[in-house]
Symmetry: C2
Subunit: 301 residues, 2 copies
């Protein structure tokens, strides 16, 4: 990376992706790069463009908007899995990021991986991880490898009697989106992005886009704070203004746990304080221990 690199982002409407990228970039105040905002308004040659596709929060498929010999695009394909979106093409970008958080739901394991064409870029990425963390948790690596093996084994030999995670996930997401669209339509005051679909090469059929998050708008004139309005009805969402968007919008999670009658926690609830990348993780007894004023420990059993 040169000393003047910037990191623009590829939004196409008023829904920027997760705020993690700018937050950590701004926090470090590195002399190596700075956050440059919307890629559509970026002018220059030296950049790293982050392309989140499908996008968080709206699930839209995105392409890089910049092109320059000196620039690089990083494709964050965290949500490019059959449960969320039709797999319409074989992803073949220079730098592609994935995570078990969204693919299998093991957000707490904190393991991601990258497919990188250029060996030197891969070497630098590895070096950065080494410097930044002095190594990735082996406990997590072992667990992630085991989980991915189990998922993969489900698709061996076309044996349909096996447990197949992506088929299970697709059924769940289709059902949840059906419920959500019915509820929004019945309410008369909420609108959702139009359903899109495509030929899914994984499912071998036409499949709908079932994003991990719903980008819900409250159309009632007197409701300017949709998240507050829903909270009044015991539905927890994230306000659009957390994504730099209109607070009439909220992001509703479709990847939480199923409804728990004891606590009235619904499928589509989204607590405000959970971390972005841990959203697909189990919520109960989920007390994280960071570096803090106590000894390492956990209340989990």
């Amino acid at each position: 990376m040169g000393a003047e690199e910037v990191m623009p982002l590829t939004p196409e409407n008023n829904t920027p992706p997760s705020m993690s990228y700018p937050a950590v970039t701004d926090f470090l105040r590195s002399g190596l790069f700075r956050w440059a905002g919307d890629a559509n308004s970026f002018v220059g040659d030296a950049y790293i463009e982050l392309v989140c596709s499908p996008n968080n929060p709206d699930g839209a498929i995105r392409d890089a908007v910049l092109s320059s010999g000196a620039g690089k695009a990083v494709h964050d394909l965290a949500y490019y899995w059959p449960q969320y979106t039709p797999i319409t093409r074989r992803a073949d970008h220079d730098i592609m990021l994935f995570t078990v958080s969204k693919s299998t739901g093991h957000a707490g394991t904190r393991i991601g991986w990258a497919l990188v064409k250029d060996r030197e870029v891969a070497r630098r990425m590895t070096k950065f991880v080494e410097l930044n963390t002095i190594g990735v948790s082996k406990d997590s690596q072992l667990r992630a490898a085991k989980v991915l093996s189990a998922v993969s084994d489900g698709y061996v030999d076309g044996d349909a009697s096996r447990h197949r995670l992506f088929d299970f996930g697709r059924r769940k997401m289709v059902e949840r989106w059906r419920m959500l669209r019915e509820a929004a339509a019945a309410s008369g005051i909420f609108s959702l992005p139009a359903e899109t679909s495509g030929r899914c090469n994984f499912a071998n059929e036409t499949a709908a886009n079932n994003p991990a998050f719903a980008w819900l708008r409250c159309d009632r004139e007197d409701v300017e704070d949709c998240a507050g309005f829903l909270r009044g009805h015991k539905i927890l969402t994230r306000s659009g203004n957390q994504f730099g968007a209109d607070p009439r919008y909220v992001r509703v999670s479709a990847v939480g746990k199923e409804c728990d009658n004891e606590t009235n926690e619904a499928v589509f609830d989204e607590t405000d304080d959970e971390e972005d990348a841990a959203e697909a993780a189990p919520r109960r007894n989920d007390h994280e221990v960071h570096m803090s004023t106590g000894a390492a420990g956990s209340e989990e059993e």
Copy 2:
């Protein structure tokens, strides 16, 4: 942290501590801080002083050398455990860092903790961890909590029949240092730091300093590269020049695995490419998977 903070270090001789701190600091090129080198030669008020005590690589007990209302000291107490050094006093610094890597040997779990007096400082540290990693591996947190509980249980009720990790570790380290000092004395060409001891409040007796690493010097006139000389005899060490010191010195690990006859891997060997904080971890089948040009996985069984 202000925009002009610097991070001096507290060495007292030609043995700076592990190079991880300057490496990651220099790499990020943050506008928030820069690496300022030896604390003894630092001039200024705004700083974060890193005090590694016992020090890596020489095991020396260190105190902060700077004092200013605007400055802060961070005490890295990774090696302040009874197997390495007499516990002569109750540590009571403002910010103290620990890790299971050195206390119990679970380096691969990548879990550390901090004891911090100032709530606001603790909050900022937690925020940094959150921004930098979006949460710490829960698999690792659970494992570390279980390991620390098991270690702690060994000392319940003064029942001496229990497995007691620190007593076991002390016996091992005493034995290894005895062997190493005998070998160095018999060679006539190697010298080691003089043995120091102190009243250990944990062991309730006078105990020797048994550092995790030996800072070995080759006294033969014709050997200018001690690490190369030892490598010629199938003993792997880290050259002093990796620590900014004279290459007549090497750092010898005393926390590796016991001798394996099949590979001639000796207790005191230290491979060059292992990572600093992972040194106490098991070495066999220990292939780390970083972000790189392959899918997440592991060759471990």
